[in-house]
């Protein structure tokens, strides 16, 4: 019963496409707002999906976000095809970044992306294969309210 989807939708992200970066996270935020998800969860999910989207834009060739909502949870799955992450423990450290000089000048590459996702999610899983891509599972519980 609890696995019944209230909503299931996929979004494509193009690697390197800075001019459309943020579009997917904004669309997802609008959807979550519209279907009446708790505002504090909408904010946390928006932060997490923005960071994940920017990682695809900056480091991958392409990616796909799957938004699945059941009565009890909101699940954002990000799958990308690209360079992957060599050392996940290192990538999860605040301040660590492999961003280029140009990205840093634009205000990216603060090394806050993955830590911000983990901080905001109720559950977070990351898996990566070097040279193939990275998969993130970002989960929010809907059966409780208030801040994490």
């Amino acid at each position: 019963m609890n696995d019944e989807y209230v909503l299931s939708q996929k979004f494509k992200i193009k690697g390197g496409d800075f001019s459309n970066a943020g579009r997917t996270s904004t669309s997802i935020k609008e959807i979550l707002k519209e279907i009446g998800i708790d505002p504090s969860i909408v904010i946390r999910a928006s932060i997490a999906v923005y960071e994940a989207e920017m990682n695809v834009v900056m480091y991958a060739n392409k990616g796909m976000v799957t938004l699945n909502i059941t009565p009890v949870k909101l699940h954002l799955k990000l799958e990308d095809e690209g360079q992957g992450i060599a050392d996940i423990d290192q990538a999860m450290k605040e301040g660590f970044s492999t961003a280029t000089h140009e990205m840093r000048e634009m205000g990216f590459g603060a090394g806050m992306g993955l830590p911000n996702i983990k901080k905001n999610a109720d559950r977070f899983k990351i898996a990566s294969r070097l040279g193939e891509g990275t998969t993130l599972d970002i989960i929010f519980c809907l059966n409780k309210t208030g801040n994490k």
């Binding site: 800075f18 970066a21 996270s25 904004t26 935020k29 932060i47 634009m106 205000g107 990216f108 901080k119």
Partner: protein, 111 residues
């Protein structure tokens, strides 16, 4: 306080998003790191930054910010203004630096 009053008091120049200047400003957030703004800014904040590229507009939209103040008289890219007009995000320009404009905005909003 509404954006249009702040524009007048801080002598800002509205470069885009003029249709949305009646919005109430809840506070300010000063930073040039996008992840920091995404994580810590609040709905209705004016974002003070030197960043002039179009990705700032997505950040402002995502966090429902009231608008962006660009400091040091920097001129935003054309893409930024185009996107700002499309998304209705006010982009304001100041001749002052971030420290000064943050201080003045703080005083205004505190009153």
């Amino acid at each position: 306080m509404k954006i249009k009053e702040i524009i007048e008091k801080l002598q800002l120049k509205a470069l885009a998003g003029q249709a949305n200047l009646d919005v109430d400003v809840s506070g300010g957030y000063t930073s040039d790191l996008l992840s920091d703004v995404i994580a810590n800014s609040k709905e209705g904040n004016l974002w003070i930054t030197l960043q002039i590229h179009q990705n700032t507009i997505a950040v402002a939209r995502l966090k429902d910010l009231a608008g962006i103040i660009i400091v040091n008289n920097r001129e935003p890219d054309d893409d930024t203004l185009k996107k700002a007009n499309k998304e209705n995000v006010p982009v304001l320009c100041s001749q002052e630096m971030a420290f000064e404009i943050s201080g003045k905005l703080y005083e205004l909003l505190k009153a």
